[in-house]
């Protein structure tokens, strides 16, 4: 480990009404990967935004490579060697890879852009990282994982020596994560200091040297990763002991509620057959792109089906659009909360009421405010949504609370089947447990729960039965208590043999 390259002391940052950072200390050395841990709202992103010049601090000192900076603009931070890869990837989709990499510091001759020179340099940097991307390709056409590689390449093209990665693995597959880690190790060997923010604690041991833990805007502790136990880390993050990371509730397996027969919808949903029973949670595991999300969308009537039948309590239901599914009592909490799950510019109240307007309106279509109040009150109470009032915009909630609102939309309807698609993505440990408890509660109430997740430990920890998909087909079905990660992974990689003829 090298010398200290970034040192932040007693950093204070206040937003209207909130003290986001309260005397936070942070230190980064060259050639190390520093994990910055804490629950959502702990202030990790805020701290890193100060370091990268997006926010200005209200107090404290910040030293980068021995030089003290009062306040930085994003451009000055770049010049100082700091680059940040944002959680929500920040790229211009309509521009090419090279254009994105050189955005804001284009090479020019006179006033004319030197496109071929920039493309050649971009190709060189991508080549150094052994990333196979054509610099002339449009960024919007690349998969998310490649876009992330481009962001890293962009950071390197400005000769960044301090690289901040905010949740870089949240939408990558296992193979892509390995690729990312390979690059991180290379950067580390080259003497870069890397700040790594992640909620996936399992992946830390692969790359992390030291950790800094924050909670509620305060610095809690730091230390060498190998000398700390996972329980210590979690306890420091949450501020309380989490007894069980995966609380499981045992239920009697009841009658069959829901059955899908020979469902087909495009290449990623092929001949899907499965059933859900009362009192069990069925996990859907698989690699990214295995067709799990597509299956949920086809069931829910978002995407058109090309064949298959769906049965609820033994009777066939025809689902051609989401409204058909909702009326039948089949509901979906989609993968992308902000895009598909919530109207982020509307209040919690309006979000909760939206799919239930048929219950809240009288015959003339006038919404009854008292019924709406009741619905919101129940949802907030039952789901423990943490918010001052239901008039708050959904966008202003933390990830965990947003997820609760997504679920809350459906609970007023006496649903029979609830489909969760990656419900815990990007939310913190404490909130995850609350979501698990919620699923357990549904299970106890006799509702069939379908639980799609890419995180193996939670599938094994929460689901009773696990169905594994690969390449649009169901390749395996196992009982969660009797299986191992390896067995699931084997099913998840069971691609059809391409016929060579």
């Amino acid at each position: 480990m090298g010398e200290v390259i970034v040192s932040m002391k007693n950093i204070v940052k206040t937003f209207p009404g909130v003290k986001a950072l309260d005397n936070v200390n942070f230190e980064l050395r060259s050639g190390e990967v520093m994990a910055l841990l804490g629950e959502n709202g702990a202030g990790k992103s805020t701290l890193m935004k100060i370091l990268s010049g997006v926010y200005t601090k209200d107090g404290g000192t910040m030293t980068i490579f021995g030089k003290e900076y009062d306040n930085l603009t994003p451009k000055q931070a770049q010049a100082a060697g700091v680059a940040i890869i944002h959680q929500e990837l920040n790229m211009c989709r309509h521009l090419s890879v090279a254009e994105n990499m050189f955005l804001g510091r284009e090479k020019v001759k006179g006033i004319v852009l030197k496109n071929s020179e920039m493309e050649a340099e971009a190709a060189g940097i991508l080549g150094d990282l052994k990333i196979d991307i054509d610099p002339r390709q449009m960024v919007g056409d690349l998969p998310v994982s490649k876009q992330q590689m481009v962001e890293i390449a962009k950071a390197l093209s400005i000769h960044a020596k301090v690289l901040i990665m905010d949740e870089p693995t949240s939408s990558l597959t296992a193979k892509e994560i390995d690729e990312l880690f390979r690059i991180i190790r290379k950067l580390k060997a080259d003497g870069c200091g890397i700040v790594y923010i992640s909620h996936r604690l399992e992946e830390l041991q692969a790359i992390v040297d030291r950790v800094t833990i924050m909670r509620d805007g305060q610095y809690i502790t730091d230390g060498i990763f190998k000398e700390m136990t996972m329980d210590q880390i979690i306890a420091n993050m949450v501020g309380r002991e989490i007894k069980e990371q995966f609380p499981r509730v045992s239920c009697e397996k009841g009658k069959k509620i829901f059955e899908v027969k020979n469902l087909n919808a495009g290449k990623l949903v092929r001949n899907i057959n499965f059933s859900l029973y009362e009192g069990e949670i069925v996990g859907f595991a698989g690699l990214m792109g295995a067709g799990r999300t597509e299956t949920t969308r086809a069931i829910f009537g978002v995407d058109p089906k090309t064949g298959g039948q769906i049965f609820l309590d033994g009777n066939e239901v025809k689902i051609n659009c989401p409204m058909d599914a909702i009326k039948a009592g089949i509901v979906l909490a989609p993968e992308d909360r902000k895009k598909d799950g919530l109207c982020t510019k509307l209040s919690i109240r309006h979000n909760l009421a939206l799919p239930n307007l048929d219950l809240l309106c009288n015959k003339l279509g006038v919404i009854s405010s008292s019924k709406e109040d009741k619905l919101c009150e129940d949802a907030v109470k039952n789901l423990m949504i943490k918010t001052p009032t239901v008039e708050v915009n959904a966008a202003n909630l933390s990830g965990g609370n947003q997820q609760k609102v997504v679920v809350g939309k459906w609970l007023a309807r006496n649903s029979r089947v609830v489909i969760f698609d990656e419900p815990t993505r990007g939310i913190d440990v404490g909130a995850k447990v609350e979501i698990y408890n919620l699923m357990n509660k549904l299970k106890q109430e006799g509702i069939a729960v379908m639980f799609v997740s890419s995180e193996m430990p939670e599938v094994l920890g929460i689901a009773d039965r696990v169905i594994i998909m690969c390449d649009g087909r169901i390749t395996g079905e196992v009982m969660a208590r009797e299986t191992t990660q390896n067995e699931i992974l084997r099913y998840a990689t069971e691609f059809e043999k391409k016929q060579v003829s």
Partner: protein, 338 residues
Amino acid sequence: MNEKKQSTVKRLLNTRGMGAVITAFAGLIIIYVAFGLIDRNVFSGQNFMNLLRSMSKYLLIGVGQSYLLITGNIDLSIGSMVGMSAMISATMMAMGVNPVLAMAVAMACCLLCGVVNGFLVGEFKLPPFIATLGTMFVTRGVAYMVNNNRNTDAIATGIGKEAGDSFQNFFYYGKTLGVYNTFWIALLLFLAFFFLLSKTRTGRHIYAIGSNVDAAKLSGVNVVSTTIKAYLVSAICACVVGFILCAQAGMGNMEAGNMYEMYGVAAGVIGGISPLGGTGLLLGTFAGAAVWQTLENGLNMIGAQVGIQRLVIGIIVVFSVLLDVVVRSGNFGKKAGK
């Protein structure tokens, strides 16, 4: 050598938005030929020259509006700015002021409006629709006030017949190399702004803020100054169109340029410029302006009334965007099914 040439052509064809441009040019040829088959006079040299001249103002206004559409904004004030430019320059010339000075004053006023638009949208984050709606009314108001709510007298009454004629010839009636000056002026500005958009840093930044303004800002792009530059381009275009209308009429008309902002949107959109920002090529705007003018010209030649002209143009605008949407959603389908 041959290989290199091929790759340049291929690269040109692969440029984003080129598909829409080619479609628009294909549509243009079909429309032109179709009208020509109905009425052979459409193919006459004189008509072609008239066509080039009358498409020039739509081309200019389209270029201005396209700059804003690509940044994901809009400029509703350019039509009124055309009127303001025509009225200010005509009023001054009718009073006997040197035409160059009169034009300079008109240009200064338009540039000022451009800066104000850019500031309101870029710095104060006003929705561009609202900000430029305001300046639209203000500039039209100024156009009315310049000459006390009257159209101006003939400019020749102030600067004399000779100077008046030379102003009118320069912008409208005169020809150079057999083509009306109006078209040369429009072409020159088009080429300059084409270069600015496709070959310079400013142009790149205009695409970037239209594509993802946050990413652009975090990459160190100055969003405010880029926005102002885009609004300045539209102001310059509007101002020159004002001169053209002034030269055509030989006087200032308070209603000059009415609705032109929307003609600009139509020209851009027919040419494949996305009103959502980030994509589109000025070549498309060229095709869009030409489609528009060929339609108007052709419908005129075959004796169609204004009503039917508007109706057809309206359908064309919707149809061209619909085509774009359908083509794109087709692509999405393919991706999802992969």
